[in-house]
């Protein structure tokens, strides 16, 4: 199993993501710097969380315009599995690889806590390790995770089963419309999510609910 992690200045959960992918695949992921346009053929490309370019201008706006993101977009068009977590999700939105926007949390405050996620569609490569309707634990840590899209886009996302994670049991931490925590592209090969599954993959994290996501995406047994 081969994976790649995109590196932009200001991302800061890259080390968490690299540790998680190493733990799960047994192999260190490739790292791809912002100026590189050549991404090797891998089974999963991840854009990790953080504050790329300090979140100045708009979260993810500058990162989305770096050369490496054109390469990621091209790979995605060819069907590669791409996953963006937190700032990575914001970058995927700004790059136009997923629809909608992430606004400031409704509380206007940064929030770091564990939430509950419902698996609303278990028929994607990313969620096949879970059961539909299953509730899992997952931490969040963000200032701008309040998902929003216009009515038409929402209808399409919901109708096509592209909302794959939803905040459950009243644990929506940011005011996201329809409790949306994660969505996929129409082809199902691009996932964007605010919560951090990479921080819940080993016993020392206090749980392993995030493991099945990576295992599913990589076609491994969880």
């Amino acid at each position: 199993m081969r994976t790649a992690v995109v590196l932009l200045p200001g991302l800061n959960r890259d080390r968490d993501m690299i540790a998680a992918l190493t733990e799960i695949t047994g192999k260190k992921p490739h790292t791809v710097w912002q100026t590189e346009t050549d991404i090797p053929d891998v089974d999963l490309i991840v854009i990790p969380g953080g504050f790329s370019y300090g979140d100045y201008l708009r979260c993810g706006a500058i990162g989305a315009r770096m050369p490496v993101m054109q390469a990621v977009a091209e790979k995605a068009r060819q069907g590669a599995m791409v996953m963006g977590v937190c700032n990575g999700f914001q970058i995927l939105l700004e790059a136009g690889l997923l629809p909608g926007a992430l606004m400031r949390n409704a509380t206007l405050k940064f929030v770091c806590r564990e939430v509950k996620l419902e698996i609303t569609n278990a028929n994607t490569a990313f969620t096949r390790g879970y059961d539909a309707g299953q509730i899992i634990r997952c931490p969040v840590a963000h200032h701008d995770g309040n998902y929003f899209a216009d009515d038409e886009t929402l209808k399409r996302l919901e109708g096509e089963g592209r909302v794959v994670f939803r905040y459950a049991e009243g644990s929506n931490p940011n005011g996201s419309v329809n409790d949306i925590a994660g969505i996929v592209s129409p082809e199902g090969n691009v996932l964007g999510m605010m919560p951090h599954p990479e921080n819940l993959i080993e016993a020392a994290h206090g749980g392993t609910d995030g493991r099945a996501l990576f295992a599913g995406a990589l076609g491994l047994a969880a």
Binding site: P9, N12, D16, G54, F110, N199, A204
Partner: protein, 738 residues
């Protein structure tokens, strides 16, 4: 030699630089001529209280700073302590009190930025942060605004930089109304064989400026931090720096990359008094002169004077001495991270600090004397009067359940979740205890079993009543909190916040607190390896409570044995360890007396350091041996609050027997020191009680059993754990958002 001076050096100008007439005379004697305006600024920056420790040095020297594991004690950017396997922990705590009162968001943010820089300047990657925050009375008109600004500033910087905030304190007291405290702690991990220091070596080597550009922000900040406040304090806002955590994160990565390349000879971050302090430090430590050409310094504002450039406290900047042959490779690393890289000077052999600007020499000073010849004061002090004994009947019996709920729902004892959920506590994936327990704990990355524990502690009301016992207690409580997770306390950093040292009664508090801290550190083998002194914390002549914050670090060798405060299971025995007969006796200066009876009286609880150590060592052993299933130290609010916290953390209730002997209030709310609560399976309990009866040197008393969904304290009304939680969790959000 003369240096042309466009600005006349008047008595007013000297006073505005915080220099006393005798201090100015010292400058004249030292250089044999009138200083230039730039030189006056440089002296002011080096000789203010914040940078020179002129009032405190004499007393700081009495603290124990050495130990088997101590690699570098005070005097470097941060303390360095060996944790085995070729690794060391690098840590320090520092105040940013004055700036945070003037501009809470940026003041707190740059406080965090500064302490992180101190840690990674030494070659360590930061792995944990804490913040000890003290605000005025909740009903003071500025308090809410300051809490909101400081908390979001701490989070705004630490979260974006990417360090987990794993602990800290938040306390309210009217004495901080005009002078809040923001004490930031950071710790990093490095290899013991690659620690970087500020001492320059070699003549004629390039002095390199790295990081962000220099602006006018923070000019005179260190001098401002060495003065009392008055009503015109808002006019000082331009002296507060502006933080950029994005640049700091890039600076961290670039510095670590550069250090790994072998190019760095010496490195010093630009903190207080920026370019001045860092350059003097590097030269003076290395017995070398430094020449700086300010025309080469990257600036972000036009027409900056030499004075402004030398005193700017713009953030996220570093000064280095590099191996000349590696200049190109070093520059490439900094360019990759989008940071400035400029050769701004060189080391010389003449021991002069020379500043060139637009073709003129604007300063030429003896470099060693700038630091070494700073005034040092043996300020007069008077020993604080011993507090009166607590009068009989000070604490009329109250309903125990009501008192507990009132304490748990009070400003100072309610949950701090509202605060720490705004901090990223999980980033780096190594946090195994986040705030809410006795100490924050992070795994040592790359090691299969080791972890580090962190705690920050002081009880200012104890220090006010008796600075000596209060100083001892701050150290003992920190040591106890680390021990309660199963960690072996290794060393500590101190952040000493006091009022105006020119007043003998304040100086007396300072001296006695240091004596207490020193005594406790020696008795507990807990050396002070770094620290910071913040004096003049007063407004309009009214000082804060003396607040010597102690930040401690402990080592857990097997993290699978780490203890938490949450009850682990139902039907386990609850043991009280280290307590006198009757469980608790001391109500003087207790939270109960203050918050239930509205009285701040009596002496604080004395700390018997030998007993502290005996009890703690045994508790740690029971945790390491896997016998204790949960552990919590007893502090504010005594036994009742501690057992309630264990119940709330787990959702499991408890039944505690009726205390005998003393008044129920003293048993349940007394704040006697060196006590812990443990839970153990019932089968273990009998054995422990037989071995450690009331006659043994570490007493064990079986006080109750875990189980159910209610907390029942003796004959008092049972309280559902859910109700405890509701009360405990509601004060902060109601206060801030309500």
């Amino acid at each position: 030699m003369t240096i042309p001076n466009a600005i006349p050096i008047t008595d007013e100008l000297i006073a505005a630089h915080g220099l006393k007439p005798d201090e100015y005379q010292r400058i004249l004697d030292l250089i044999g001529r009138e200083p230039s305006f730039t030189e006056l600024g440089i002296f002011s920056a080096m000789w203010n209280e914040h940078c020179s420790y002129k009032s405190s040095k004499k007393w700081l020297r009495t603290l124990p700073t050495k130990g088997e594991r101590v690699i570098h004690g005070p005097g470097e950017n941060a303390g360095v302590v060996d944790i085995g396997d070729g690794d060391c922990v690098v840590f320090k705590m520092e105040s940013h009190n004055h700036p945070s009162y003037i501009e809470p968001y940026q003041g707190a943010a740059t406080g965090v930025g500064g302490i992180l820089r101190d840690v990674f300047t030494m070659g360590a990657r930061p792995v944990a942060a804490m913040n000890a925050l003290r605000f005025g009375a909740p009903d003071h008109p500025k308090t809410k605004h300051l809490v909101a600004g400081v908390v979001s500033g701490v989070g705004g910087y630490g979260n974006a930089f990417g360090v987990p905030t794993v602990g800290g304190e938040v306390e309210f007291d009217a004495s901080y109304n005009g002078n809040i405290l923001v004490n930031a702690f950071a710790a990093g991990i490095a290899k013991t064989d690659s620690i970087f220091l500020s001492k320059a070596e070699g003549v004629g080597l390039p002095v390199v400026y790295l990081g962000a550009k220099t602006g006018r922000d923070g000019v005179g900040g260190a001098t401002m931090a060495s003065a009392e406040f008055d009503d015109q304090i808002d006019e000082k806002r331009p002296t507060v720096q502006v933080g950029d955590p994005f640049t700091e994160k890039c600076l961290l990565e670039a510095c670590l990359e550069l250090m790994a390349s072998g190019a760095v000879i010496a490195i010093q971050d630009m903190g207080a008094a920026g370019l001045t302090c860092s350059a003097v430090e590097m030269g003076a430590k290395g017995d070398l002169g430094i020449e700086l050409d300010l025309d080469k310094v990257p600036v972000r504002e036009e027409r900056m004077s030499a004075y402004e450039m030398m005193l700017s406290e713009s953030q996220e900047r570093m000064l280095m001495v590099l191996k000349p042959e590696m200049e190109k490779a070093a520059e490439a690393i900094f360019r990759k991270w989008g940071l400035d890289f400029a050769i701004v000077g060189k080391t010389t052999d003449d021991l002069r600090f020379r500043i060139l600007h637009k073709g003129d020499e604007v300063a030429n000073l003896p470099i060693k004397e700038l630091g070494d010849e700073a005034p040092e004061y043996d300020r007069p002090w008077i020993s604080p009067a011993a507090p009166d004994a607590l009068p009989e009947g000070s604490a009329a019996e109250t309903d125990i359940a009501d008192a507990l709920l009132k304490l748990l729902g009070s400003a100072n004892h309610s949950s701090r979740r509202w605060v720490w959920e705004q901090y990223d506590t999980l980033i780096q994936g190594n946090s195994i205890q986040i705030p809410g327990g006795d100490a924050g704990v992070v795994r040592v990355e790359g090691h299969p079993t080791k972890a580090l524990a962190f705690s920050s502690d002081v009880t200012p009301r104890y220090c006010e009543a008796d600075p000596f016992e209060g100083g001892k207690q701050a150290v003992a409580e920190c040591w106890r909190n680390l021990t309660a997770t199963g960690a072996l306390p290794l060393a500590a950093t101190d952040n000493l916040n006091f009022g105006n040292p020119e007043r003998p009664e304040i100086m007396g508090q300072f001296v006695r607190a240091i004596e207490g801290i020193g005594e406790a550190c020696r008795a507990l083998d807990f050396p002070i390896v770094s620290g910071n002194v913040s004096l003049y914390n007063e407004t309009n002549g009214k000082g804060i409570l003396p607040t010597p914050t102690i930040g401690g670090v402990g080592l857990i060798t097997d993290r699978s044995r780490m203890a938490r405060v949450a009850f682990a299971a139902e039907d386990e025995a609850i043991l009280l360890v280290g307590a006198p007969a009757g469980w608790g006796t001391h109500l003087g200066q207790s939270a109960y007396l203050r918050d239930i009876h509205g009285r701040s009286e009596g002496p604080p609880p004395p700390v018997d350091l030998a007993r502290e150590r005996r009890v703690g060592d045994l508790v740690r052993k029971l945790i390491e041996d896997g016998i204790a299933t949960a552990c919590h130290d007893l502090s504010d609010g005594g036994l009742a609050v501690a057992v309630a916290e264990m119940a709330m953390a787990s959702g499991i209730g408890a039944t505690i027997s009726e205390p005998g002997g003393n008044s129920a209030a003293a048993s349940l709310f007394g704040e006697d020191q060196a006590r812990y609560l443990l839970t153990v399976p019932k089968a273990q309990s009998d054995r422990l009680l037989t071995e450690h009866g009331q006659a043994s040197d570490v007493t064990f008393q079986h006080i109750g059993t875990t189980g159910g969904r209610e907390l029942k304290l003796g004959n008092a009304r049972a309280i559902p754990v859910e109700e405890l939680r509701r009360v405990h969790e509601s004060w902060f959000p109601t206060y801030m958002d309500g």
